[in-house]
């Protein structure tokens, strides 16, 4: 791929970030998407939270997430300046809340796991948590404080990325990629259909998400991202200037973006258990998106053949990993290899 022309297939947070950075690096970039910034990036919660997302067995993902998180403040500042509009970074940190004894045991395990990795987190009682976030309800019995896990307003981010990309010369064409010529595939959950080497490596993982609006007289919004376990179910509540984003459901049922009654019921119930004051908030939006799942939850960033690059499979972490992904892709465009941990070649059977 020594030509100066780059076509990016997909206009979500990954495609827009890569297009912007490639244009800054001197490439002539055309981005194709029938509806840019409308897929899972639009639906997302926008957590930048690798530590509170850490699962035993996913240490490589934690390392990647921490590397990405470290890029975020500089990325947001540079993007805001380039776009002439705020990138939406919200640097207030995260608390994790547990309700029942099983939930508290799970947080204990997470804290112990992080300690063994040399990343101790602060344990708090329910009372200490309520001192930080007075809206937390009486069912919250304990938890963690992780000031370094942040969030970003994903819709402000998408608007800023699009503005910055266009100012840098990216041409955005509202059509599907025609399937010919050199390309960078950034089509999220739809990527597998675009290249045979991705077949079986990217699958849609549905998530439902609610957007709540604060209303006059209702309990004030929390300051921090609140993650919680309610009777074993994860839920997150991410503050926005005028409301909250509530999510966490995960289903594997193909390309289905209908929000289900049962999923929305769980999110509302669990959000109220954690922050009872949300009962008075407005339910502004109910939606579902399709995360691009990969076999090991690590992204697929690398070269598929001499005419095809890929940056997809970001699972739950597309927004967090966008600045790092764009940096790796500009490296690929300059002829550098992809790190083995993200290179899709790790799944090749002839290895």
């Amino acid at each position: 791929m020594q030509v100066e022309e780059l076509v990016v297939a997909g206009g979500g947070v990954i495609g827009l970030s890569c297009a912007w950075r490639a244009a800054q690096a001197g490439w002539h970039v055309t981005l194709c998407d029938p509806a840019p910034a409308s897929g899972s990036s639009w639906v997302a919660g926008g957590m930048l939270a690798p530590v509170t997302e850490a699962w035993p067995g996913e240490e490589a993902l934690l390392d990647l997430g921490l590397e990405a998180l470290a890029l975020w403040p500089g990325f947001a500042e540079e993007l805001s300046a380039a776009a002439g509009q705020a990138a939406g970074l919200h640097a207030k940190g995260t608390v994790v809340a547990a309700t029942g004894s099983g939930d508290r045991a799970e947080l204990d395990a997470l804290a112990a796991h992080l300690a063994t990795l040399g990343r101790p987190v602060e344990r708090l009682t329910g009372r200490e948590l309520r001192r930080l976030e007075p809206g937390l309800g009486p069912d919250v019995r304990g938890g963690l404080s992780v000031p370094g896990d942040l969030s970003v307003d994903n819709r402000a981010l998408l608007a800023a990325l699009r503005a910055a990309a266009e100012k840098a010369g990216v041409v955005i064409e509202e059509r599907a990629w025609a399937g010919e010529g050199p390309v960078l595939i950034c089509a999220g959950a739809h990527s597998a259909a675009l290249h045979p080497a991705l077949s079986g490596l990217v699958r849609p993982v549905k998530g439902e998400i609610l957007r709540l609006g604060h209303r006059r007289g209702a309990f004030p919004l929390p300051t921090r991202t609140i993650r919680a376990l309610v009777d074993g179910r994860p839920v997150y509540l991410v503050p926005r200037p005028d409301g909250l984003v509530v999510g966490a459901t995960q289903y594997e049922q193909g390309f289905d973006t209908d929000p289900s009654v049962g999923g929305v019921r769980d999110l509302l119930r669990d959000a109220e258990r954690i922050l009872p004051g949300v009962a008075e908030y407005a339910l502004v939006e109910v939606a579902a998106g399709l995360r691009p799942g990969s076999p090991d939850n690590m992204p697929l960033i690398g070269r598929l053949d001499e005419r095809t690059l890929v940056a997809t499979g970001h699972s739950r972490n597309g927004i967090l990993l966008a600045p790092l992904t764009a940096q790796l892709v500009t490296g690929l465009l300059a002829g550098e290899p992809a790190p083995a941990a993200v290179d899709p070649a790790r799944f090749r059977e002839d290895r």
Copy 2:
């Protein structure tokens, strides 16, 4: 009002029905509404259910509702033919389901009340109800069957009314009524602002409503309208060709159309208690509308001054009462008086 020109202010189910009937009677009708068919008529559930809506002390409303219900089959048939599209009548009847003992006691009281009015209804056990509607859950312990209480697809109805009105010569102007000249006020919850005689007589009564979509593999839709009491809270589930409409919340908090988290949570929870299979349905739409409440829950249909007629204040019953209201309004236009029970003059202090 001996001129042949009639201006109708408001394009909901009442305004459209009156406009259509007036045009059929030879009037030149202009209907003004900034957004026809978009208000509470659009949000509504579409129950035609005066018997299961009967409250002790509202016998006049029951009589009016029964008179209106009797008009519906003929009205729907005539409208479907005039519009060239189905009016959406669903003639499968209604069951009422009770859960706890307090709910069953309330249904007993309703049945006894109806019996004293000479309108006995059939009492059913939980098992008998499930024989009629197999989707009813185990928490349903008993109830009523009222085959005469029907429903209509309110959105099909609005589309048919608009088509029939325009074919009959009604000119629909998408703007607010300018406030001058002879007029028929049909502006629902917004009517009070349009004439001093309506001040204090019409108030907004908010209701939240959900639209659920049936999904492949989910439990089949019920055949009948299902009304229920769940721990004292009323809920209704009205079948549509492809889903269900779920409603029943009532709040008095001004012109607020934000669906609230707490209201939606109650509707989802209560719907699942009654029909557990809806957990697998899609949550397609969440909305709130403003019923035009009147002091006695009876509509306000009559003459306010020599240039002003009114048809509003239909509270929970606008769709049920639309054919009868249009008939009364064409009577007013022909110089007949309004029945005393609906004439807004009943609230005049000088009476």
